[in-house]
Symmetry: C2
Subunit: 333 residues, 2 copies
């Protein structure tokens, strides 16, 4: 598969250099070990927020480093967990004396490596808490996971906890809010095409010209069902029904609706999906009071989308609305 890269070996490093050159007022990129910190880190007295994972999901996580969101992100190779050395160095770089929250998507490698990094950081006297996101309702266990996968809720959690940390809340409170976001959020995705990992050079999976994969993972790992392509309305109903039934979301709930592109789907199609989602939620008496539409947690060039619904309360809404200034998400300043 064709890519705009110089080589599979250098793609992550080249992109990190590009980010460093593009956003020096927001972030600083460190190499060997590789991690991205907020410019001016650590912020004295503020809880530090660290996330990380395999590359190939851009803008997540590096694009979310900055004011009001993450203090640091650790990029692994494409679709490969970063290593504990990166996480330890990043944790130390962002500890402003109020402790550090690790935000970990539920994939076996990520969980194991973040656990090790947390232990090492604690041995050096840094207070570390962790939250594991597992919002994907598609499958119980998966190719890379014991239990549900962590997907779209991670983006919302990073924004909301970033707002809480910026407001000066202590580690225990930011952790409580993180757990609440994960508990109140659910996601499911689908794909029309495969992605291709640069080093592999071929599509991760084969899919027919008239087929789609429902419940896909963000690494192209299998989902619930391979089936014939259907309309946006039918696809949206499959995803939204599974999500709405799972929490469950109830009549009268206010939600944040996040329609996410997998990387290769044009924005016009995401708005078609959003339009169908508004109707489906309305039919269930669920009100969308906030929304986010675009490519935020991607799978390289995969065509498809995911839907995340997060049940809002006053606290989550307030920290979602709070100012943020990162390469990929910005408002209020």
């Amino acid at each position: 598969m064709k890519k705009l890269i110089n080589s599979p070996e250098t793609v992550v490093g080249d992109a990190l250099l590009g980010m460093a050159a593009a956003h020096p007022e927001l972030i600083q990129v460190h190499f060997d070990p590789d991690y991205i910190t907020r410019a001016g880190a650590p912020v004295r007295g503020k809880v530090g927020l660290l996330s990380g994972g395999g590359s190939g999901h851009e803008p997540m996580h590096g694009g979310f480093v900055g004011y009001g969101m993450l203090d640091a992100a650790c990029p692994g190779a494409v679709f490969t967990s970063p290593v504990p050395d990166q996480m330890l160095a990043a944790t130390k770089a962002i500890d402003g004396g109020a402790g550090v929250l690790h935000i970990v998507k539920n994939y076996t490698g990520d969980v194991m490596n973040f656990e090790m990094a947390a232990e090492l950081a604690q041995m050096e006297g840094i207070e570390v808490a962790s939250v594991i996101t597992n919002d994907d309702v598609a499958v119980k266990d998966s190719l890379y996971t014991a239990g549900r996968r962590g997907v779209g809720v991670t983006v919302l959690l990073e924004k909301i906890c970033g707002g809480a940390a910026e407001a000066g809340l202590p580690l225990a409170e930011v952790t409580r809010i993180a757990q609440n976001v994960n508990a109140q959020g659910r996601s499911m995705g689908m794909a029309l095409t495969s992605c291709a990992v640069p080093a592999a050079g071929k599509p991760t999976f084969e899919i027919g010209d008239d087929e789609m994969e429902i419940g896909i993972g963000i690494h192209g790992e299998p989902g619930r069902q391979r089936m014939k392509l259907q309309s946006a309305r039918e696809i949206t109903e499959m995803l939204a029904s599974a999500i709405l039934d799972d929490l469950p979301f109830n009549r009268g709930d206010q939600v944040l609706a996040f329609v996410n592109g997998m990387g290769g789907t044009p924005l016009i199609e995401l708005y078609v999906v959003y339009n169908d989602l508004v109707k489906l939620c309305g039919d269930r008496g669920v009100t969308i009071s906030r929304n986010l539409i675009g490519n935020y947690i991607t799978s390289l060039e995969m065509a498809g989308c995911s839907i995340t619904l997060l049940k809002l309360d006053d606290e989550l809404t307030r920290f979602w609305d709070a100012p943020v200034h990162t390469p990929a998400l910005r408002w209020g300043r």
Copy 2:
């Protein structure tokens, strides 16, 4: 080709409904004729900015309607010019007594229809000025154009003139700035894959698994050269050299560098291109003092990118930096 739509006939309308539902605080969507206005339009005493063109280039132009950018946008069918009726209705809806600037990309249909709309609006007593963007250095004439095509500069022009109009500048001044942006900006694009118009249901052009098209247009129309795939560095050099030599940009120039995704290219690759672009500009003594990286003027799901360089002066920089709040571009508020 597979798409997340309900039907080729309803894709534009469904997406407009999705936009209306997602951004009621920013925009209002009108149907029959179809156009999008800024919420609260017209703004009394402010120059109104109108653009438009075929759909399939999202977020351009509808995603740029709001505070500090466009007052209205007219979406045509996919890759098809909107009609004068839409443009006339939009012009009337946003005229706050200070006149309206039409921002037109140089495609034969758009130019003809905007000319007719301007005449009709003037007959109704509205002062209308027009600017035609033609920044694409790839080809002299094209499938849809006499003269150069209007591409990436259009996005920058809409932002900068939006800032100027918001600052209260009169129509003649906003028009002068628009002409200056077009005069100081140059672009060129390339594609790895084709797009597919929904109503056609098949790729617009055929391209080999090891080929790329240099100088592609935003409708998949042919460019300068079909050639074997090369590295991001070589591709960036081909695009940037053609751009830098054309104006020409000179040692000591400050520029805004815009690396744009065509819709199907992941963000990680755009940052690889940006990294190579920084080096190339540096070698020529050209300093990138502002940048924009992402999918802003797209060709449905086409994989590829375009580069736009705009020579900055104090005035252009000031209006680029001014606050903007639209569905797709936001800062400063």
